[in-house]
């Protein structure tokens, strides 16, 4: 950590960092030039595989391995989809890259397309990023004009077209097969796998879907080599043969109750506490943290005594969280009620469940109804067990849904209830002194609103 120099954010503070001139002034597109001259696609794949780069979008799948699933000698076309649908609550690092260094993202995209022999790349950009859209489109136009995109790039045999495809406000489009369906013009219902996109993806052709930050990393791996990349981060655990390690720099987004919210770059493995203290400027108003989301809402909660956890692909899991996720750290101070967290999270996932799999559609919406009733002062202690029962039975991990959205819905519930049960029970007893012991079924709230007692319960500002 002491000697760490920012890699992905190295140039964002330069004037006009989003322009081609500024990018080229710091050596931009030299790596592409060299790779097209000196490296075969297979050599680029190999370098990325050796680097140990894992996807930055949340799942952490090894990028080189993903690429190697593409069929050899396929007549094409092969597609590259850039996942810029960044929608995980607490996450905005892709936006920062696209707004402030879009050519870095493009160079990574072009190199990755070269490696995977893709001839068309679609950047699936969420609708809510209008500035990123303008910057990225301007960068694409500049790159075409300069010969970095289009036919026979820099005089090579390699050609690539890049198009931006705008989303329409649906979280599920960040799931790679939901994204593919959405580009195809359909509702973004994730596909059952196999076949995986590498075999049958966009328009039924071999397809790679990579996150924006992942592609930006590729640029630096090709430039500085796999060995350099492996000097940053955390090597595999010696006692776990399945751990590929957590190498490279990572962008962490820090938000919530901190003094300096923002997007910061650190090596994987930095502790959550260091992120909050050193980069985030500590918890605001001189308070202490009560709970912290480590990697975007889906990953669940760390309690205040778990903050020394290393932020790599293993650390948060060892604390009962879903994973490192996107690196979106959300800090809640000691005054913030966990019931509010639970309500916010359940509402998000009930709203964003795509409706395809019944356990997710019904599970997330019933969880929200129960949490609303608790919040409104009509909760029972057994409701917490009911919520856990739902949480333990929806998702890929219990094997009941096609995609991981339901796992993302379940982990905030599980971690909030298991780590903050006492506070939640106190809330239920305090707000429902005559009814908290009831075990029999009770009516749901009318229209999910706080009609009776609940009318006195208001949102925490």
């Amino acid at each position: 950590m002491e000697n760490f120099e920012p890699v992905l954010l190295a140039n964002i503070h330069r004037p006009d960092s989003h322009t081609l001139a500024a990018y080229e002034a710091t050596g931009g597109y030299q790596t592409l030039r060299r790779a097209l001259r000196e490296l075969s696609p297979a050599q680029v794949v190999d370098e990325v595989r050796r680097s140990g780069l894992r996807g930055r979008g949340g799942a952490g799948f090894p990028t080189g391995l993903k690429w190697s699933f593409l069929p050899a000698d396929h007549p094409g076309p092969i597609y590259l989809c850039v996942n810029a649908d960044e929608s995980e609550p607490g996450t905005f690092c892709n936006r920062v890259l696209m707004e402030l260094d879009p050519h870095q993202v493009l160079e990574g995209t072009i190199l990755s397309a070269y490696a995977t022999r893709a001839t068309t790349a679609y950047i699936y950009l969420r609708y809510e990023y209008p500035l990123a859209l303008r910057r990225l489109q301007a960068a694409i136009d500049e790159a075409y004009a300069a010969g970095y995109l289009g036919k026979n790039i820099l005089g090579s045999n390699f050609s690539l077209d890049v198009y931006i495809h705008r989303g329409a406000g649906a979280y599920i489009c960040g799931e790679e097969t939901g994204l593919i369906e959405s580009i195809e013009g359909k509702r973004a219902w994730p596909r059952s796998k196999p076949p995986f996109p590498a075999v049958e993806g966009l328009f039924r052709k071999p397809t790679v879907v990579n996150n924006v930050e992942t592609l930006a990393c590729v640029k630096h791996i090709v430039e500085r080599g796999a060995d350099w990349f492996r000097t940053i981060g955390v090597p595999p655990a010696p006692d776990d043969p399945r751990d590929p390690g957590s190498f490279g720099p990572k962008l962490f987004c820090i938000s919530g109750h901190v003094n300096r919210p923002g997007c910061y770059e650190a090596p994987l493995g930095i502790s959550c506490r260091e992120l909050i203290e050193k980069f985030g400027g500590g918890v605001w108003k001189g308070r202490r943290a009560k709970a912290v989301v480590p990697g975007g809402l889906s990953t669940g909660l760390l309690s205040a005594d778990e903050l020394d956890v290393p932020m790599d692909f293993v650390g948060p899991v060892q604390k009962g969280c879903l994973g490192l996720g996107t690196g979106g750290v959300i800090v809640m101070d000691e005054t913030y009620p966990i019931i509010e967290f639970l309500h916010n999270s359940c509402r998000f996932f009930a709203h964003e469940s795509c409706g395809q799999c019944t356990p997710c559609r019904e599970g997330t919406s019933w969880a929200l109804q129960i949490v609303r009733r608790i919040k409104a002062g009509r909760g029972r202690l057994v409701d917490l067990d009911l919520l856990l029962e739902i949480a333990d039975n929806i998702g890929i991990i219990p094997g009941t849904t096609i995609c991981g959205l339901a796992d993302g819905a379940a982990w905030p519930m599980k971690t909030a209830i298991r780590k903050f049960r006492e506070e939640l029970e106190d809330y239920i007893k305090r707000t429902n002194p005559t009814g908290y012991k009831i075990r029999r079924p009770v009516p749901a709230l009318d229209n999910g609103t706080c009609s009776q007692k609940g009318s006195s319960v208001s949102f925490q500002a």
């Binding site: 076309p77 960044e86 929608s87 995980e88 609550p89 607490g90 996450t91 905005f92 892709n94 936006r95 969420r126 609708y127 809510e128 990023y129 209008p130 500035l131 077209d161 198009y163 495809h165 705008r166 989303g167 329409a168 406000g169 649906a170 979280y171 959405s182 580009i183 195809e184 013009g185 359909k186 509702r187 973004a188 328009f203 987004c253 820090i254 938000s255 919530g256 109750h257 919210p261 923002g262 997007c263 989301v293 809402l297 979106g328 959300i330 809640m332 913030y336 509010e340 967290f341 916010n344 999270s345 509402r347 998000f348 709203h351 964003e352 795509c354 949102f459 925490q460 500002a461």
Partner: protein, 172 residues
């Protein structure tokens, strides 16, 4: 490369097309980007809503004819994305108040409630004068600016009730 869309365009029921020639041209311009005309549905819906403020049933029928795909397929896609308005046009300004965790815990919920009271509408609705459409946003990806509000294409950071009033009053 796309000759699949050259279907004869049927006259619409009202006798008057809602998609004008310019809009049709801009939609057609997307066709060469994709191997399938259906992939143009999302870009086309964006263009239609941008131009007309909403995506009416008539617009869906005309788009179906334009792209040479069945209208129910377009309707299926359209209805999935809450982003598109199917009942009536959006207001002049679409105001997205983020209510996801980072913004909610920094005052986003309060801002949303404030605008609901101020305008006496629910999220998703438009003020009677057609000026504002209020939307509850799920994570705008602007968490370092919490609470954040997106008004059409402009993001506003660390918004308070007072600041919001000021921003809204200054809109042309």
């Amino acid at each position: 490369m796309n000759d699949k869309q050259t279907v004869t365009e049927a006259p619409c029921e009202t006798g008057r097309q809602v998609l004008n020639d310019d809009l049709r041209e801009r939609i057609r311009a997307y066709l060469p980007r994709y191997p399938s005309p259906r992939a143009v549905v999302l870009p086309a819906l964006h263009l239609i809503q941008q131009e007309l403020g909403w995506v009416s049933p008539q617009a869906v029928r005309e788009l179906a004819t334009l792209l040479g795909i069945p209208a129910p397929e377009i309707q299926d896609t359209l209805s999935f994305y809450g982003f598109f308005k199917q009942q009536k046009p959006l207001g002049k300004y679409r105001v997205w108040v983020c209510r996801s965790l980072s913004c909610a815990i920094c005052g986003g919920e309060d801002l949303l409630g404030y605008l609901q009271e101020k305008w006496r509408i629910e999220p998703g609705d438009t003020t009677a004068d057609g000026r504002f459409t209020l939307e509850a946003a799920e994570c705008l990806g602007a968490c370092e600016m919490a609470p954040a509000v997106l008004i059409n294409e402009s993001i506003h950071a660390r918004v308070t009730r007072e600041k919001l009033d000021e921003i809204l009053d200054q809109l042309p």
